[in-house]
Symmetry: C2
Subunit: 205 residues, 2 copies
């Protein structure tokens, strides 16, 4: 049933606001628990003076802002923009860290569709500047987490044209570093960073 208000706006049983709220929840929950675990780990590392890593805010194009009297400015119209970087960056013992956190329900491989070209391009630019650049992969059905260096990811990505649409878990187990979740920090990814640094200094020396 739909009828029209005098102002021309329609009213229907399906309230468009409900629809928006439902989709919002879906959007917010996608990958939320793993992201939350990373954010809490960053918080832990920050308060324990181990590293300074923050999630970047979502980039928005702000179109309209209201400035009500005696209260905070309200953004009334804005749009999501394509980010030009990865989600996380920061500093650990002088090293620049840069990473992305992704999860899958798959049990045998990690789908490459979780990554976008702009993220791969950014990772390549960071690698050119000797950054410590990586992805944290979460297999939610297996409860397993891996550190995979951007060198490996970019290498695999460039071979996509050969028909490879996902990275086999067996390969991730070989070239990645497994991270066992803990109580605090929940995802102790700095341990993997340390292992990666050791391996890198050995192969450079």
């Amino acid at each position: 049933m739909t009828f029209h208000y005098p102002n021309g706006q329609s009213f229907s049983q399906k309230n468009p606001r409900d629809r928006a709220l439902k989709k919002e929840t879906t959007f917010a929950n996608r990958g939320m628990r793993f992201e939350e675990a990373i954010n809490q780990s960053n918080e832990y590392y920050l308060t324990h003076d181990k590293a300074v890593v923050h999630k970047k805010p979502t980039p928005l194009q702000i179109v309209k802002v209201d400035y009500p009297k005696r209260s905070a400015a309200v953004i009334k119209e804005a749009y999501f923009r394509q980010p030009s970087t990865t989600d996380y960056n920061g500093v650990y013992r002088g090293y620049y860290l840069d990473f992305e956190a992704k999860e899958t329900k798959n049990k045998t491989s990690f789908p490459l569709k979780n990554f976008h070209q702009h993220q791969i391009t950014h990772m390549q630019q960071c690698l050119n500047q000797d950054a410590i650049c990586f992805v944290l992969l979460w297999f939610s059905s297996l409860n397993r987490c891996f550190f995979l260096s951007a060198e490996e990811l970019v290498n695999y990505w460039s071979r996509q044209e050969n028909g490879k649409k996902s990275i086999p878990l067996t390969l991730i187990e070989t070239v990645g570093i497994e991270i066992t979740p803990q109580i605090a920090p929940r995802i102790p990814y700095l341990k993997a960073v340390e292992q990666y640094l050791e391996k890198r200094s050995l192969s450079n020396g």
Copy 2:
């Protein structure tokens, strides 16, 4: 003259949207030209493979999102949040860079009110991790730009209680590094970073 629509909303000669637009312009222009010069310099450094530095998006609290059929999601209600970091960070030759860009019309000193406690706290956390952390100061009336290390700024900030409300230009000339604007990159701040690194390695060795 103000009268009320049947829906209770008032109409007045001063259109509230005009007011919003006017304030928006003011907000957008504050410090805009210097920031624009920094952003263009970052772009230059990125495309020339010299450094990967991006401005962080403004953090917003998103409250309401509409998902119209066949068009992009529209944010209908959001609020500005207090950032927990500085505006810029990135990587240069393996070094983590972190900085804030500020400008003043003053001619003899740089007012400390341009900085906020959360920025100083973040800079101190970065310094603890051996970051290259600094501020770029622009004296718009003098057309002069300076690199000032976070060590110097934090040091000066901690002495604020002694009644110092701004950093004298004479001190900035002594402990900072002047950056002469160019055509491209407009603010060649990596030169100052290089000088800072040389000075640091000399005092550490």
